[in-house]
Assembly symmetry: C2
Homo-oligomer: 195 residues x 2
């Protein structure tokens, strides 16, 4: 396996997150031996996405136009803005079918240990976005991890005194779970946020 | 994430072995948000490998020429032929630095449960390859798994009566291991193959 094109492929595949030397070898072997058509499709899809995908000018998520389909949808409630970390989190909220407002996607979260600071997430465009006069409430829907909480605190701080209501997703017992197996901190939050 | 180019990329990435919906999303997000250069490099490497990589006409491994660099090397001992399952296994033998013969790469192993039969691995080219008059010994270096053993048995059977010595890699206790932690079947083999 010291041939040039093969070695280049192994090196390139290792740039994928979570892919080490062994996975890269397995992927290259599979594509070259069993799925040449797949190799060509992945290459074409990567090139098309690189050319066409950019950030929505309004909510910062990935899109192929100037604005994404959600920002363009006139049926969405412009008074509500959910701030999420990633397009995947946005997709999860959409799947729940219970949010009809708009989004702002930070494309990251504060993570000092990984060198991700305030400048590396979309705080400046978020502040600009929240200047919209139609906006009444910002729902901070970052993760309930240390990093997500720090990001949420930063957002709350940045939006303080701008006349916008800032809320956070409720913490509590997940649907379908038995109390016995729920961790203590979740139970404590569910108790204090009881309604 | 319902945009066309993005969805195509997610679908394409799922053709990689071991990559499900979540990994594909993580990979696409990482490349588009943090490593556009990586996306272009992977695409180019896939296309180059698809165009240039084919099978060595002599040993069936991946190569960019008619014959691979090992088959072309006049210093290799043409009397010895190691039969391995994959280029990765071949690379492992090479790294050991203790084999100076040639190789034959099956590009698979018998696996009836996965629908991999005799026709799907390189048995016909192997039989042709072993017609070489310089050849004295075939070292069957397939894995010591049920599938690897079945493949080894098939090879031994196919080569029987052709005047070639057929050997198998020794089974035994791995270097650096304490007997206490070695599995019983390995110890049994190490005992019966003691020297």
């Amino acid at each position: 396996m010291t041939e040039r094109a093969l070695q280049d492929l192994l090196d390139a595949l290792r740039r994928l997150p979570g892919v080490g030397a062994r996975s890269a070898q397995r992927m290259a072997f599979h594509l070259l031996q069993h799925d040449r058509e797949g190799a060509r499709r992945i290459a074409a899809a990567l090139q098309a996405a690189d050319r066409q995908v950019r950030h929505c000018e309004r909510c910062y998520t990935f899109t192929e136009g100037v604005l994404c389909s959600i920002c363009l949808d006139p049926r969405r409630d412009a008074r509500l803005l959910a701030v999420v970390e990633t397009p995947a989190d946005q997709a999860a909220l959409e799947r729940s079918g219970s949010f009809r407002g708009l989004y702002f996607v930070l494309m990251g979260r504060l993570s000092p240990l990984d060198g991700v600071g305030v400048r590396d997430i979309g705080m400046a465009p978020l502040l600009e976005r929240t200047g919209d006069s139609a906006l009444e409430e910002v729902i901070v829907a970052t993760s309930f991890t240390a990093e997500g909480e720090a990001t949420a605190a930063l957002i709350a701080q940045a939006l303080a005194g701008r006349g916008i209501k800032v809320t956070r997703l409720a913490r509590g017992v997940p649907a379908g779970s038995e109390l016995e197996y729920v961790d203590l901190s979740t139970i404590a939050h569910a108790l204090s946020d009881r309604r």
